[in-house]
């Protein structure tokens, strides 16, 4: 069984959803983003999304955009992030790691080359934000050749037929977007979310994790009742950006992720 399958199976056994934390790599710099990843794993994250900054993040809200901007100004590169990924995945062989990127950065590095490298350093898969089903083949092949998962997205705008086509090709897990819009912290999740997730669960052979707009423990708890995984990004990045003293922010993020982890348990 591959690592992600093991993680989801073990969470199922523990009657909880997997906790997936997005990290803006290189924010505020590579070294401190590595500390943020360590803190997230220590606080209970099962899978880490390694966010690669891009100059034109058209699917991201203000929080991740600003973090990406800082990361790029401080010299973050894909090569530097892959070195970071090698270190953390070596240190945490039980934790899942997904490279989370816009296509251009991957394409520029070389799709075959990035897949070979990720596989060699123990990263489990790739999520390319701007790669829908119609364009997926060019990355799907090198992913398959290198034993990597290519994580697809499904949104509330996706029709059931389309969701079936997308999930049929998915391995690892399916990323269900809770809201139509960009990433970011939102006041509340839409009422239809639980029903949508339940529908998607019925269709998808792969586990379903839900993200976008997950702001607090209560939101994580709601999602955990229906989904196999809870994904939190902007809310964590926002905390990491809050204080002048990064160590203070880091500690707050650790507390926050612990609270999220507690709320991933399924209520009987």
């Amino acid at each position: 069984m591959d690592k992600l399958s093991k993680i989801f199976a073990s969470c199922r056994q523990q009657e909880r959803a997997a906790l997936i934390i997005f990290c803006s790599c290189g924010f505020p710099d590579l070294e401190r983003s590595e500390q943020a990843i360590e803190a997230a794993i220590e606080a209970g994250a099962d899978i880490i999304e390694l966010g690669v900054p891009f100059s034109d993040p058209m699917a991201d809200g203000a929080v991740i955009r600003q973090a990406s901007g800082v990361a790029l100004r401080n010299g973050a590169t894909l090569a530097g992030i892959l070195d970071l990924a090698a270190r953390v995945s070596h240190k945490h062989p039980e934790t899942g790691f997904i490279l989370f990127s816009y296509m251009n950065v991957l394409f520029n590095y070389g799709l075959d080359r990035v897949c070979r490298k990720l596989s060699a350093i123990g990263v489990d898969g790739i999520l390319a934000v701007d790669l829908p089903l119609e364009e997926a083949a060019e990355l799907e092949l090198p992913c398959r050749d290198n034993g990597l998962h290519l994580i697809p997205l499904v949104s509330p705008a996706t029709s059931p037929q389309r969701a079936a086509a997308i999930t049929a090709r998915a391995t690892g897990f399916v990323y269900s977007v809770n809201v139509c819009g960009v990433t970011g912290v939102r006041e509340e999740l839409p009422a239809e979310m639980a029903a949508q997730l339940a529908e998607l669960k019925k269709i998808s052979p792969a586990p379903v994790a839900a993200g976008f707009g997950v702001t607090d423990g209560a939101a994580a708890r709601r999602i955990s009742q229906v989904a196999d995984g809870v994904i939190v990004g902007s809310a964590v990045v926002k905390i990491l950006a809050r204080e002048q003293d990064f160590q203070v922010s880091l500690e707050e993020s650790r507390q926050f992720i612990r609270e999220l982890a507690r709320n991933c348990r399924r209520c009987p």
């Binding site: 100059s55 993040p57 901007g69 119609e134 705008a157 977007v177």
Partner: protein, 401 residues
Amino acid sequence: MNTHYGIYGGQYVAETLMPALAELETEYLAARADQEFQNEYRQLLKNYVGRESPLYFARRLSQSLGGASIYLKREDLNHTGAHKINNTIGQGLLARRMGKKRLIAETGAGMHGVATATVAALLGMECEVFMGSQDIQRQAVNVERMNTLGAVVHPVSEGSATLKDAMNEALRDWTARFKDTFYLIGTVAGPHPYPLLVRDFQAVIGQEARRQCLEQCGRLPSQVIACVGGGSNAMGIFAGFEADSGVQLVGVEAGGKGLQSGEHAASICGGRVGILHGCKTYLLQDGDGQILDTFSVSAGLDYPGVGPEHSFMADSGSAHYVTANDDEAVAAFDLLAKYEGIIPALESSHALAYAIRIAGEYKPDTILLVNLSGRGDKDMDTVRKFKQQQPSATPGLGNSI
């Protein structure tokens, strides 16, 4: 349907936008085949835009250069002063047909924003335009025009605060509001079907120009020359000549301070293949795949990508792509004003600059057809500042001839 041009084009967008793009494609193909839709589009082009635009022989300019005969396709004479309106009328009618109440657009120099605001007023729709805060300062008059037409202009201050950032913000808005909103893209870039429908709505330029050239000269031009930022005016005029193997199509990119300087906006001549704003195409990017800032005296060419069909045509050799630098464009701007009494847009001045550069190599029986895509009133301030900074490049008659 095929969504690519060879390896270029495609639909590299977030999943949330895919159903919106599918709806747009379906509705557009239906509208394209609908005679009533086409009639209304043609009627508005005639009675509202003022088409057809003239084909004009620039006699004094040609004589002064002592070579080829230069003909100008006068898109500058359209309502709102550029070719942009051809596309916004088409997409505006499509938006109405789809029941959308709100138009959004990105704009660089402001011409596409003005053309979108114009159509929104014409059709009684809401309009919001995203514009880089840098461009808002450079193009204050166009911001006032958009406001007067009832549009709301949103400043975008992220990134380089120019056209590419405005397009990012428009895509973000559309991702959240595609149900009631039509995103009116101004050039032949973006995800499929935008490159296709913008090309179709601009094809009228080439169709008219070909017929007019045959009427006036009894033969086709040797070269059809147009400036290329995103490339909509070029694709529009090229479309009329794609079956004419004897006609050379030339796209002129913004060379800025020169390709060697690194300060330019020439995506094909000076870039590498990548993926931005929904399509695979030539891009200006750094070694790590981050998009670079562009540089051109002309705000309308200041875009780090190019329409995917242009990338395809560049590779296949069906069109030829060159650059003209800032100083050449400004010299061409002056020259056309001096000899023909026409002040061209700085964008169009790049196409003109290339024609001026090569005219001397030919005899008067050679026709060079230049797409004069817009008028230059908006550029007076920019040209004045350019000349103040680089007195050696003026008055324009010295350097490039």
